[in-house]
Symmetry: C2
Subunit: 466 residues, 2 copies
């Protein structure tokens, strides 16, 4: 044992070896912050296990030594959930990567938690299936991180969030006990729903090591349109009608407010405007299904009806994948934010679908009152009630962000919305979770945390305010 080594680290190295447990000198320069750039301390050691047994051994030793642990996936989180506060060991699942098996009959895939999302998507595709979870970080984020944060993304309206893409989760609890495993049953009413409790717990209840993912039939055809509407009522009427009448259902319903639409078209000259006129709301509507010819016909009929009945004022129908890409490029413009609007304040909030229009109006009016010249971009997955709001002014004083947050989170609380639709709480949203959860709910969560991690060793200081 080295002089400067902590007893916990020494015990971890004794049990797992120097290959699995590295000391700070071995990983100098390694990045520990996530995409939110929340500052992170350096860990006192880095554990990179190769097996669930090694994870269990590590947690058992940490438990004995009361050593705190932060689990790392792809470090693409947006809430600072994987950053370190000081004194923790980092547990990276990077070596537990790979697809273990694909069950074609059961439409299931067993993967290690460190597997990148994109690897899973590609393997599903190769096997003739689709894994529907999709988000911008797909190349770097891992299935374990997607599970720990209950990731959302682009296709929630049709397929649900990460929680609905999983048949079973294997995880190691704070005391080193392993729960869950390789079950592929869709129905299993035997006791409490530990699986959903661990999913979305952001590394504070367990370390997820493996999962059985649910695969879906691969869509054979995608129909896409870009629509203009004159009122929020018209937008929700379109959503409702699409859900009721499109034979293949709705796989995306992305709404953009004119401030967003005008901004991205002006600032990104490579984008093409799909519609000739300006409208009060823009909707990217997508339906994907099994029957190319009939689906295209039905989609076109539906759009004609919506135009004739005045639900939408205009629509452009994609007649090729290239057309659809033009529409999606407008919705995907946020990828350019770092260049276009540095220093922005961003929100990931959700509301009842009926409230989204009013909530957006209130937020915009209140922001505009305080910051008349600010760029205010509003858009979101309306089918899920999920709104993204981005606010920026070039020469803001340093203390502006908290004031902008006070406005938007204030409106969110007023409408009974969620301060975190899909990004989680981590460290960054600890101060606002109480706007979406009652004291009784937070107390119940603390009781559950204490039950499963009584020494508060797993990702301490995250998800639940002290």
């Amino acid at each position: 044992m080295h002089d400067s080594e902590l007893p916990a680290v020494a015990a971890l190295r004794d049990a797992l070896g120097a290959d699995v447990v590295s000391l700070p000198a071995d990983f100098a320069g390694r990045k520990h912050a996530d995409w939110s750039r929340t500052p992170s301390a350096d860990p006192v050691a880095l554990i990179r296990p190769r097996t669930t047994e090694q994870v269990a051994t590590a947690l058992r030793i940490c438990h004995e030594h009361r050593q705190a642990v932060v689990t790392q996936g792809g470090l693409t989180g947006l809430a600072g959930g994987a950053c370190m506060l000081g004194g923790e060991v980092a547990l990276s699942l990077e070596r537990m990567s790979g697809i273990e098996s694909i069950d074609r009959v059961g439409s299931a895939m067993t993967v290690l938690a460190g597997t990148p999302l994109q690897t899973v998507q590609e393997a599903a595709d190769d096997a003739g299936f689709m894994f529907p979870l999709d988000l911008g970080a797909r190349g770097s984020c891992t299935i374990g991180g997607n599970l720990a944060t209950n990731a959302g993304g682009n296709r929630v309206i049709k397929y649900g969030m990460m929680r609905e893409q999983v048949l079973d989760v294997e995880a190691v609890l704070a005391d080193g006990n392993v729960v869950g495993g390789l079950r592929k049953m869709i129905k299993n009413n035997t006791g409490y729903d530990l699986r959903n409790l661990l999913i979305g717990s952001e590394g504070t209840l367990a370390v997820i090591t493996r999962a059985v993912l649910r695969l879906r039939p691969k869509p054979r055809a995608v129909s896409t349109a870009f629509c203009g509407a004159t009122s929020y009522d018209a937008v929700t009427t379109l959503l409702h009608a699409a859900q009721e009448r499109l034979p293949a259902g709705v796989s995306a319903f992305e709404v953009m407010w004119p401030g967003y639409y005008d901004f991205v078209l002006e600032r990104l000259p490579e984008l093409r405007a799909p519609l000739a006129e300006r409208h009060a709301y823009y909707v990217l509507l997508e339906s994907s299904g099994a029957d190319p010819e009939r689906q295209a016909e039905a989609f076109e009929d539906f759009l004609s009806d919506m135009l004739e009945s005045g639900v939408i004022a205009d629509a452009a129908l994609a007649s090729s994948e290239a057309d659809a890409a033009v529409f999606w490029a407008i919705r995907d413009a946020p990828g350019e934010y770092p260049r276009l609007i540095p220093g922005r304040v961003s929100f990931d909030v959700s509301f009842s679908i009926a409230d989204v229009g009013e909530a957006a109006r209130h937020a915009q009016a209140q922001l505009r009152e305080q910051w008349p010249r600010a760029t205010i971009l509003i858009y979101g997955h309306l089918g899920d009630g999920n709104l993204h709001i981005v606010v920026q002014e070039p020469d803001w004083p340093a203390d502006t962000a908290p004031r902008v947050q006070a406005v938007v989170y204030g409106v969110t609380a007023e409408f009974g919305g969620s301060v975190s639709a899909e990004h989680g709480i981590g460290l960054k949203k600890l101060g606002v979770i109480a706007l979406s959860r009652t004291p009784a709910e937070l107390a119940a969560m603390r009781a559950v945390k204490h039950a499963l991690d009584p020494l508060n060793l797993l990702n301490p200081g995250k998800l639940l305010p002290a």
Copy 2:
């Protein structure tokens, strides 16, 4: 206070009045057993609150007096989850019944927990939606009971179990604190998933008082076929192809083994055989969607392809609702079991879809070996991996049931299946939960139970073995 009254009961009557809290003399003859006919003791008092506040007051008082509570819904459970062991008060939600609001824009309905499922289905239908959960007990079972047991039923393959029909759940914890409420957000990543923890907890963690239910678009067309197949591989090929190719997806995929098919056709002369020949497997396939004409065409094309390519040996296509009813009557024959096969032993197990065929073969062979003359009926929701097995011999000795259970649960454990796919654990399956859950999982569940109900007052003795 009456001489014979318990202090807890006296305090409940003081706080809530005699109208809400009845004494045994007032409810003599009232039934407390569920449909599983598990014997139940009589409660020491019956609480019938009208509001969530009254439920909270009742639980707070019970907590102070360490008085155990059993919550009653429609008493249609099949696992003895609502029966009393002696000394409990019964808390019936029968007066908290009714639909509070329907949100057409958000496709959501807010209901009190005591509302019967059928009332919810009908109100959804009247409002132009569908509430997809459906089971035989629909007229008597309540939404609160459906939530407490995470009910399954006929349409899980397309819409999921009760867990997936809910946006929020209001519940009263053991100490009288109220959690959850009237949130209608689809996405809400703010802390632990208390909602799913309470759903399926069978009244052991909280009393569910209200729910925001998710409504679905009403299908405009239903296509139905009855198919014969020669092998289990063919059955799973048909399932896979149907999921991939039917534009409206698969809304039912019910498989019947020949023992079942022959038995019900022989014993229920009012049934008509849909197919001329006998087959190794029978499949009731249903697809329901938005576009009557195109859907019917696509369904017919699909069946022709399956016949031509030899996946199925024969198929009857329903050309009317009456035809479909004839097919469904064969699958719904278990409603006649009480008359046809008294004294039967029934199972509700699940497996990976890939394992169902082998598991059924093993169970049947082992049962046949011990009881050569027994009636053995096998059928199930194959799309969910859910198998029902019913075994009976007219003049069985009284101790046969445990021996039959040992065989079927033995095979279930061997194939890593679930001993309770949809009926829950209650009291009846306490002895077998350990076949589907590991000691570490049961320990974690006990820790959660202790965290939320430290005095073990909510439905004690159920769901978790002592």
